[in-house]
């Protein structure tokens, strides 16, 4: 089921006609993500709310033109996503598409958008391909990526003695990318990779995969998957007594939404990497509380990242004085990013937002002092360590 919800953020009663600089007199932002599948909590409707919040906070209009947000459910299928994106660009005058959870979708829509000369800001997908070999002049990657996750979670576990790994990998671009980068990182630290097994997206029964992982004898089982897939794998691993048997689980991509999903009893002690935590600074706290009032949940890095991406896009239009793609993309490349999500963030020539990420540990149920207070921040990983140097990203746009 795919839905398009239309939200006119600006009250269209103001009589001033839109300036000629904004095409069709309206700036339209599309939020395209999974709203019914395994990533519905990871991004989903909440990202759409985050985008609407950003538009409202911005005043509802830019260069005197109203800003609209549309959304649709791509069901994690790149073909459905491309169809929606194509239709948005061709018939609904959408200017930019954001969020784009799932790497296969992210890559498909980013490539299509380059052809159509439109901006994409990806906050939901993980693969470094987006700003690596498949980078585009109009594509941005905002919240996190597989490299940051490998350096963060992978690095922390190797340091604690987890030097042999076995991967349980989601069978698509994101999984490969995460497995490869974490594996390389582990090896560079003197560890070994015992093997890997791949499972289709949205698997419900992990028993055969988990048994292989158990039999491998590796100290750490790296879960190179996300959303409900990771939640199910962790729950079933507990039933198989894998963690009780001395092997450690590394949820490489796990956010506040999934921690909330499986509960602290199951999640306590997990080490994970996120680029945002609502309870880290007074500003992020204030944002988190406003977001929770609206949606009922605290934001994870995808939701906060989407808020930041929409805000930055609107700022870039304001600065450029037009919503023409080339000019806006140039502004987005050069403007620093300073908001609730990123402090002192900068965008590389490959479109990668470089900002600090945080290594977290999930608290034990007894240590929680308030609702959603799930993390201890263990370490801050500076942006230039967390993310690939643009020059080494393999992006053909960077000389």
């Amino acid at each position: 089921m795919r839905k398009i919800l239309l939200s006119t953020a600006a009250v269209g009663l103001i009589a001033t006609p839109a300036l000629a600089e904004v095409s069709d007199g309206v700036v339209k932002i599309g939020i395209l993500n999974d709203q019914s599948g395994v990533y519905a909590d990871f991004g989903g409707k909440y990202s759409y709310e985050a985008a609407r919040m950003a538009v409202e906070d911005f005043g509802g209009k830019v260069l005197d033109a109203p800003v609209e947000v549309v959304t649709a459910d791509h069901q994690n299928k790149p073909d459905i996503a491309s169809n929606i994106a194509r239709q948005w660009y061709d018939t609904e005058q959408v200017d930019a598409i954001m969020e784009l959870t799932t790497s296969s979708v992210g890559l498909a829509v980013q490539a299509l958008s380059q052809e159509k000369k439109k901006i994409t800001v990806n906050t939901g997908a993980a693969t470094t391909e987006l700003t690596g070999p498949q980078c585009t002049p109009y594509g941005f990657h905002w919240a996190y990526d597989t490299h940051a996750l490998a350096v963060g979670t992978g690095g922390a576990l190797v340091k604690e003695g987890g030097d042999s790994w076995f991967f349980l990998t989601a069978d698509y671009a994101f999984g490969y990318s995460l497995e490869e980068q974490t594996g390389n990182f582990v090896k560079s630290q003197g560890g070994t990779v015992a093997g890997a097994v791949r499972h289709p997206l949205a698997t419900t029964d992990y028993s055969s995969f988990l048994l292989q992982a158990q039999a491998s004898g590796a100290k750490v089982i790296g879960l190179a998957n996300a959303g409900m897939d990771t939640q199910n794998a962790i729950k079933q691993a507990a039933e198989f007594g894998i963690t009780a048997g001395g092997q450690r689980l590394a949820a490489l991509l796990f956010t506040l939404a999934e921690v909330h999903g499986i509960g602290l009893d199951a999640a306590q002690g997990l080490t994970l990497t996120e680029s945002f935590y609502w309870n880290r600074t007074p500003e992020s706290r204030a944002f988190g509380e406003r977001f929770k009032e609206r949606t009922g949940v605290m934001p994870n890095m995808v939701h906060a990242g989407t808020y930041s991406a929409v805000t930055q896009y609107l700022k870039a239009i304001q600065e450029a004085g037009t919503d023409e793609t080339e000019a806006v993309a140039a502004k987005m490349h050069e403007m620093p990013v300073d908001d609730i999500f990123a402090q002192g963030g900068k965008v590389g020539p490959n479109g990668r937002l470089i900002k600090d990420v945080y290594l977290m540990e999930v608290k034990a149920p007894g240590d929680v002092t308030e609702d959603w207070d799930y993390y201890n921040v263990l370490a801050t990983i500076p942006g230039d360590q967390a993310f690939l140097n643009p020059a080494e990203s393999g992006c053909p746009l960077v000389q």
């Binding site: 491309s82 169809n83 061709d90 890559l107 490539a111 069978d171 698509y172």
Partner: protein, 332 residues
Amino acid sequence: MAAKSETVASEHVAAHPRAGQVQLALVAIALAGLLVAPMFLYPIFLMKLLAFALFASAFNLLLGYTGLLSFGHATFFGGAAYFTAHAVKVWGWSPEAGILLGVAGAALLGLVMGAIAIRRQGIYFAMITLALSQMFFFFCLQAPFTHGEDGIQSVPRGHLFGLIDLNRPMNMYYFVLAVFVIGLLIIRRFVNSPFGMILKSIRENEQRAISLGYSVQRYKLGAFVMSAALAGLAGGVKALIFQFATLTDVTWQMSGEVILMTLLGGIGTLLGPIVGAGLVVTLQNYLATSDFPVTIITGLVFMVCVLLFRRGLVGEFFATKIGRKMGFRSES
């Protein structure tokens, strides 16, 4: 199928003497409509409609004219989409060569699947085709060239015969329309050929066809391969329209969808699958943007159709007096 012999109606309505001209005029009007349609409707939507109409027509060749219910036609449609996409994107082939490869690949898959499946009849035939198509699905899931869940993306449309730029929506539309019309002409020629007549006789009474000395298995296999190749033609074209080939096209749901289209429109008529495909694609397209669950609505439409119009929309119309006056025949 169930409603087979109902239309040999007791009340014989003779076709109007000028029925042929009426039919010709209707075809001309439909063609003219298709020629100007992209001025009013979203071209990608129209192209999708034509591709699925061709796919359903190819399927109907087997179900409607030979009486074989295949549950694995997604293999040919999706398989051809993968072959075309790979040839065009990775090997840099021209679009027409890519599509031909898709057709050849689908025909080959059809030969293999058909050779195994036609040894059984009825539900067993359907189950074998379903099983083989699921095997092909898992092959596509794991084979490196299909890129698993990612699919083959950003397939270039390229230049037709090195001359016509298919990246322009109008050029692409008229190319798809041409392929569609050619595909239908092939089906029409095939159905009305002596070969097609023998297929119909097999459908009506296989034992009698055998006793007349026809090698029934070979004819069935021929029809199967032909249907697979045409489904492949639709799949190859679809890969160029949307510029990708993904697992969606080889799932069993896709096989189910084409059965739905054909049954809705009316099996055993040339026009039926086209109308059915149009209906299903339009429903999907417009319901997708509403809050209605698409699958439930199409399911309801299917139930209504099965309960009220056993011959499908077109079949039912052809069976009316007006339809028969105009010289149409309902085949099933």
